[in-house]
Amino acid sequence: MPMTASASRTVGRDLLGLALIALVGLAGYWLFPDNLAFLTRVISVALLVLSLDLIVGYCGVASLGQGALYGAGAYAAGIACVHGITDPVLLILIGAGAGAIMGLLMGAIMLRAHGLPQLVLSIAIVQLLHEAANKASSITGGSDGLSGMSPAPLFGVFEFDLWGRSAYLFGLGLLLIVFAVLRFVTRSPFGMVCRGLKEDPLRISALGIYAFPVLLKMFVISGTVAGMGGALAAIATQVVGLDSVSFEVSANALVMLVLGGIGHLYGALIGTVIFMALEHVVAAINPFHWMTLVGAVLIAIVLFAPRGLSGTLDELARMLTRDRWRAGR
């Protein structure tokens, strides 16, 4: 399929984007050698927020239960690791699989309703999983957390040691691959239909397209990505707590997504990095001042920048290019 001019330009822009992410990631590696454990957590949360963007940003389905998919991946990888499967790449795949299955289940339930009841279903599902994980403490370690995981060195060489170097680079590589794949998926016919569903479901059915299978497929993809994020967190910290499958982690993911701007994969990354960097600094001083700050930021976004940071950046970029274009004519 010969590339049209515009198509080659978008592929070029994607490669540039990926290079930018890799650059920022490696800069983090050199500038903050002592904080690699924290930076790895930023990557696993970024995967969670990316997975949420697929549902909220691309399909227009509001969800406060993404923790269910993230936690499913984390616990699957954790339990597998404790029972002897220690190869990190295999653990990520197990996490992805668990996330996918959970995505299928969650989608099948959530897509039965719309609007507020749908939002409530997402909350009920993550709370149900939270209680189940607590109850099955013999397998999941319950509120004591699942520990005693010792993942094997990556590709047999790079140990997951105290300084977290290999964990971080492994996470960064995973993020780049996932981001590239998602860039492709959102540009596929399937991705366009999802965007269509967000903008006008009636027109989609008037085109003769069934909405449910499309949305369910996106839930599975989103579950896969979130599951990988959870598995990465499990491998890096070698501990899985009940907090990984909770309402708080889901609400935080939504805040980060909106901060960055929904409907833009970059938005998810920008929102996560800024939110967690701020949290790392401010929360250390006083956790409750941090909540007041997040609350204020959220209100400001809704009032002044409803399209989030990346949205406003896009608008800025478009204004600049349009002015240049108009000025140039």
């Binding site: 399929m1 049209t4 596929s188 366009m192 239909v193 965007r195 027109r203 085109l207 003769g208 497929k217």
Partner: protein, 252 residues
């Protein structure tokens, strides 16, 4: 030639209120029919019934000989019964080209493929360019629909229905809300609809109806009160009364 679209004894009552009662009409391939009637005559209900949006209380609908009364809305579209909307239903953040390409991909069964590039499907993109050209939408093809004129949005709805290559097309007030300066372009587009396509237009603009339709059905209070040639519509006493109410006799 058997009827490509046949509605027999179609009725719909919300509780006691009879909104459509015992409507029957048929259309052959390539026929141009107009469904007119005063406000509240039950036209929109009729469209929602035949497109499967709401279930009928009685009666049946056949498309190309097949009984589609029990089929869902999406299946009816796939069988070739396509409609445009009275108020445009489009994707504000997408471009006209993307709308038509998605329609073509759905027709070709490739609309929900993941391992393909939407903009890379040259067969669909080329066909879309053709359709957009015939409707004069080429120069806005790559602009977001939210930023193009309402008249152009109406044309895009027609472009989409063309791309679906339907057996029967229901035009729900195609000229509604369009400034009179743009109406000629809408009429041009309607004139260029494929000859084999059966078109049922629901419209208020009588000039447009008389120029377009070969046959007219008049609906009043949910009942068909006239079926026949456009020229005879104005003379028919029942139609006059329905439209002009009591004044009809005063003029007589």
């Amino acid at each position: 030639m058997s009827a490509v679209f046949e509605v027999s004894h179609l009725s719909k009552a919300f509780g006691g209120l009879k909104v459509n009662s015992d409507i029957s009409l048929a259309m052959n391939e390539g026929e141009r029919l107009a469904l007119i009637g005063p406000n509240g005559a039950g036209k929109t209900t009729f469209v929602n019934l035949v497109t499967g949006r709401i279930p009928p209380s009685a009666g049946s609908v056949h498309l190309a000989g097949e009984d589609i009364t029990s089929l869902g809305a999406v299946k009816r579209v796939r069988r070739g019964l396509v409609r445009t909307f009275q108020v445009t239903r489009l994707f504000p953040d997408m471009t006209p080209e993307e709308h038509v390409v998605m329609t073509i991909l759905q027709r070709l069964g490739r609309a929900t493929r993941i391992l393909a590039r939407f903009h890379g499907d040259s067969a669909a993109t080329d066909e879309a360019a053709e359709i957009l050209a015939t409707l004069g939408l080429t120069e806005v093809a790559r602009r977001k629909v939210a930023t193009i004129a309402y008249g152009q949005q109406r044309l895009l709805e027609i472009a989409i229905s063309l791309a679906q290559r339907p057996k029967v097309l229901l035009l729900d007030e195609p000229a509604a809300g369009v400034p009179s300066s743009d109406t000629p372009r809408i009429e041009e587009a309607l004139a260029r609809l494929p000859a084999s396509l059966a078109v049922l237009m629901i419209e208020h603009d009588m000039d447009l109806v008389f120029r377009f339709a070969k046959r007219v059905v008049v609906l009043a209070a949910g009942e068909v009160i006239f079926q026949g040639l456009p020229a005879e519509v104005a003379k028919d006493p029942k139609v006059r009364e329905a439209y002009l109410g009591s004044y009809a006799h005063a003029g007589g």
